[in-house]
Amino acid sequence: MLQLQDISITFNENTPDEKKALQSINFELQKGEFVTVIGSNGAGKSTLMNIISGNLIPDVGNVIINDKEVVDLPEYNRSKFIGRVFQDPMAGTAPSMTIEENLAMAYARNKKRKLKPGVTKKRRIIFKEYLETLNLGLENRLSAKVGLLSGGERQALSLLMATFTEPDILLLDEHTAALDPSRAELIIDITRDVVNKYNLTTLMVTHNMQQALDLGDRLFMMDKGEIILNVFQEEKDNLTIKDLMNEFQKKSGSQFESDRAVLV
């Protein structure tokens, strides 16, 4: 479903600030695989997400989605296949537009946008049904401006907008990091539900090690632009946070260091 071949990218090459953000990354995800990605600060997690989404073009290497080479496709073209939720709850929705208008824009993601009304009676019914699955009462506030919603509500809406058109790839970039623990838990529950429901191929970056172990069926650990650990279902089920820390120390020769890492 998603394949990365020999992806490398270096920022500020030949300057004192040179940073090898990714060094020949190779992996392949099968349809429905749910990977959690952890790593210290500057390990290249966000760069990896940006390369898949088309926000960054790698120096070398290939991105293949659904047997199609997409590495040269601009971001707006690629996002036909990719749903994304950002860390910042403000980033995934348009605040001065209504909930139904936001959903209508997401609804048009994998289609060609036309000069016909975005919100119709028929679509409103569909939107309501989707919103009901969130259990936040948003289905009764279709014409409320999104800017009036709380951070948790906006993030839940972003998640719905990213998934309800069943994208080939779902990218979650620390999408619970800006929320308080109870809201974060809610978003994680919704994430688990939608990924299961649509069998979405998912890549989720997180700073929360417990989250990384609890969710998904595969785990990447990244350091200095490389994937230093790649474990699958059974092995992952038996891992503990302590194992992860030890593994990190063994592979990278340093302590796992992240000011935002949540260990418990």
Binding site: Y76, I82, R84, A94, A108, R113, K114, P117, G118
Partner: protein, 306 residues
């Protein structure tokens, strides 16, 4: 007095078309577009020269709009593909258009006094209300088109482009294309309005666009603070109302003895400042009163308990 107010209302409706264009760029795309000062004249010049060369007035007006569309697209192109700051891109286009407008006109001023324009054709109708009624129909038609457009799938993406680019790009919208065409439509309206104003006044002058962007902004801001912006339908109505009220206000101000036509820009600037600051001051005052009331209620309750 009444006659001049009537005239202000008439020209206010024509300027409202320009104000709707400014609303599209300034509010919807969040793009402060100074091209307007140039594209308004481009519209006037193209319309006037076409009419002088025997083109039917309606077609000449549409040509004026088309010229504005091209100018707007170029500004959008400079901003998106050339990565030039929005304000600077507008200033560059405005400067370039000055020379282009002079080329189109061939001389600083072109007169249409003996030509048949849209308005001389309308004046041949029996009623004095003909121009106003027809212009009201035209502006309502344009308003409904814009309202409809902004609710279509493309229109929603256009609004999101001015609201949250990161988001709409992640939802597969080509923001560069939307900005370029959006700026095109915006300046098409401005130039169409310019073409009509030239026919209304019977001439096109290379300097008639100076300060036009401020007049547009004044209309948008006055309208918004008087009529509100809750929905698109209401906001476009507010912009039209703002443009008419602005015209009426300026006409009345010019009747005051110690003010003359040269003071118009100053009056406009003061109007815009008032429209921007006054609502905020009124709100702050209301809020202060509310707090004082709350506090005194609390004191009374405490006194009651004691």
């Amino acid at each position: 007095m009444l006659i001049s107010l009537f005239g202000a209302f008439e020209s206010g409706i024509i300027y409202a078309i320009m104000a709707l264009g400014v609303y599209l760029s300034f509010r919807i795309l969040d793009f402060p577009d100074l091209t307007v000062d140039g594209s308004f004249v481009t519209g006037a010049a193209v319309g006037a020269i076409a009419i002088i060369n025997g083109v039917p007035p309606i077609i000449a007006s549409i040509m004026a709009g088309a010229a504005g569309f091209i100018a707007g697209c170029l500004t959008g192109f400079l901003h998106t593909k050339g990565k030039i700051n929005a304000l600077l891109a507008g200033i560059i286009m405005m400067t370039a258009l000055y020379s282009i407008n002079l080329r189109i006109l061939g001389q600083p001023t072109a007169s249409m006094l003996n030509e048949s324009t849209l308005f001389t054709q309308l004046k041949s109708l029996p009623s004095t209300w003909a121009i106003v009624l027809v212009m009201i129909l035209v502006i309502l038609f344009i308003k409904f088109l814009i309202d409809y457009y902004l609710k279509t799938e493309v229109g929603l993406a256009l609004r999101a482009t001015g609201n949250n680019k990161i988001m709409i790009r992640s939802l597969s919208a080509n923001t560069d294309f939307l900005i370029i065409t959006g700026m095109g439509v915006s300046n098409a309206l401005v130039a169409f309005s310019g073409g009509l104003i030239a026919q209304y006044g019977g001439f096109a002058d290379v300097n008639m666009g100076i300060g036009m962007i401020i007049i547009g902004l004044a209309s948008v801001i006055i309208g918004e603070s008087l009529f509100g912006t809750k929905t698109i339908v209401r906001a476009t109505f507010a912009v039209i109302g703002g443009a008419i009220i602005y015209r009426i206000f300026v006409t009345m101000a010019l009747r005051v003895d110690f003010l003359d036509t040269g003071d118009m820009k100053l009056i406009t600037a003061i109007l815009v400042i008032t429209a921007l600051v006054a609502p905020r001051m009124i709100n702050a005052r209301k809020e202060k009163k509310r707090k004082i009331r709350k506090r005194s209620e609390l004191m009374q309750r405490k006194a009651g308990e004691a």
